[in-house]
């Protein structure tokens, strides 16, 4: 096999420009704004799609995106990264039970926002946890995502049965009190989440990059979404969360995400650092 030729800095620069043009085209035509996403991660996903679909340049792919909505939907699926699972990071849910739930029990009403909920596994995990803690009745769960396709799947709450083995294991390690199968019905090779878990869940599309505050939440979960954003966009989102949270409300991030770079660290107390649970400071009277 002939060795492939060298790739110069100029070639890479041209490719970077093509990527920016693609993201601009997507924004102008379809309204999805990926222009402030982490460039490294965007580039890898775009290049993956390019190779899979057999385009030779990003420009060629952009041409297709501009003319073919079906193709855009395929690309969108690559760009949003929807990987998720039930009780992902079981230790987090365990800590949530032990450190957040006791506080929530003192509230008459609980509003929880799942920002970037993907296909819904995270919401049903929380619904189950609240049910077991006797809190579901007074809770409202707001499940939002930028991607309408995943929201539709989240609403359905139907998952492949092969994933359930892992979920069952996660559930147990998360401190689950029953059996995960108590909350779902198996049908052929799928598992359907119980209808009763959905009664206090509201699904809505919401873009963290462009949309506004979602008011007076007691808890915000935004796990494994911010890693896809660049720092300025992260800062915008942290500001949005700060404004959407009630005083003393909780913010839960993915285990590799940090408030350190948010420019807003001082507004939060640390509840559990390794599992990324923070709490918005109570306003103190001026000393």
């Amino acid at each position: 096999m002939e060795p492939q030729p060298a790739i110069s800095d100029e070639q890479v620069q041209v490719e970077d420009i093509e990527i920016r043009l693609l993201l601009e085209a997507i924004y102008q035509l379809y309204g999805y704004d990926f222009r402030s996403y982490s460039p490294a991660s965007m580039r890898r996903r775009i290049m993956h799609r390019l190779t899979m679909s057999g385009f030779s340049t990003v420009l060629e792919m952009t041409d297709r995106v501009l003319r073919d909505r079906q193709f855009f939907v395929v690309l969108l699926n690559d760009l949003t990264v929807n990987v998720t699972e039930m009780f992902r990071d079981p230790e987090f849910y365990k800590a949530f039970r032990e450190e957040v739930v006791p506080v929530l029990k003192t509230f008459p009403f609980i509003k929880i926002w799942h920002a970037g909920c993907s296909t819904g596994e995270e919401i049903y995990s929380m619904a189950i946890l609240l049910e077991e803690e006797g809190l579901y009745e007074r809770a409202m769960l707001y499940a939002t995502d930028i991607d309408k396709n995943v929201l539709a799947a989240a609403k359905k709450g139907i998952y492949p049965i092969h994933a359930f083995k892992q979920y069952t294991d996660n559930y147990r390690r998360a401190g689950g009190r029953q059996s995960l199968s108590d909350y779902a019905t198996a049908r052929y090779d799928s598992v359907i989440m119980e209808q009763r878990l959905k009664r206090n869940i509201v699904f809505a599309d919401h873009d963290l990059a462009t949309d506004q505050v979602f008011g007076e939440m007691h808890v915000i979960l935004c796990r494994n979404v911010l890693i896809y954003f660049d720092r300025p966009l992260q800062q915008r989102v942290f500001k949005l969360f700060g404004e959407s949270l009630d005083m003393g409300g909780f913010l839960c991030l993915g285990t590799k995400e940090s408030l350190r770079f948010s420019g807003n660290e001082e507004s939060f107390d640390v509840v559990n650092r390794p599992l990324r649970i923070f709490r918005k400071r109570q306003m103190r009277p001026n000393a």
């Binding site: 096999m1 060795p3 492939q4 030729p5 060298a6 790739i7 800095d9 890479v12 982490s38 460039p39 490294a40 991660s41 580039r43 890898r44 996903r45 290049m47 993956h48 990264v81 990987v83 990071d89 230790e91 987090f92 494994n224 911010l226 890693i227 896809y228 720092r231 992260q234 285990t255 590799k256 995400e257 940090s258 350190r260 770079f261 390794p274 599992l275």
Partner: protein
């Protein structure tokens, strides 16, 4: 190599046998090693980054279990967290991602290598160590095409030879070295370069 771009990072990948190979390489790197080291080991997802703990015992350089957006600093060792791809971003920070597994692996070596080749160009060294699949050979070839130096552990010194063999067959590898030579080679190569620069300031 006068006139060469300074090497800013060494990126490494391994799967089967990786813990041994990494502890051997890291043990032979001196304090003050002038480049960042980033490594990927295939492993199952978990909240903890235990490999970073384990490797810290063998390394004179600080070993970091990185967070997203963390700045990449010379002389530090960054261990990809289980369950996430670790990438180099354009502002020389770490970008973590949960994009689909590559060669059934997350973290994947290819993901790290492609991003490092993109950002650093000639200023990166790619190293493929022992392992049982083909992850890394595409990414290593990209590093080669971008002008970076590419190394592989010799198959006969590898617990699992498939990974270095795949890279060698692809033609991505410039030097094949036995395991115990890799650390010393990197140290000589990088610190040699640095001495040359300080001895002849202003010379190209």
């Amino acid at each position: 190599m006068p006139g060469a771009a300074p090497v800013k990072a060494v990126v490494m990948g391994a799967s089967w046998g990786g813990l041994n190979a990494y502890s051997s390489v890291l043990a032979s790197l001196p304090e003050g090693f002038p480049a960042a080291i980033m490594l990927v080991q295939h492993q199952n997802a978990s909240t903890e980054n235990r490999l970073a703990w384990l490797l810290a015992r063998y390394s004179r350089l600080p070993v970091v279990a990185p967070e997203d957006k963390e700045r990449i600093r010379p002389g530090h060792v960054y261990v990809a967290p289980p369950g996430y791809h670790m990438l180099v971003d354009v502002d020389e920070t770490i970008a973590l991602s949960m994009y689909r597994a590559v060669h059934f692996s997350r973290p994947s070596i290819d993901e790290l290598f492609f991003s490092a080749g993109h950002v650093y160009g000639k200023g990166v060294i790619g190293v493929i160590l022992t392992g049982a699949n083909e992850d890394g050979s595409e990414g290593l070839d990209y590093i080669r095409r971008r002008g970076g130096l590419t190394l592989a552990q010799s198959p006969q010194s590898s617990e699992a030879p498939a990974m270095p063999e795949a890279a060698i067959t692809k033609g991505s590898v410039r030097e094949v070295l036995d395991l115990e030579r890799i650390g010393p080679y990197l140290a000589e190569f990088l610190i040699g370069l640095r001495d040359e620069k300080t001895e002849h300031p202003g010379r190209r």
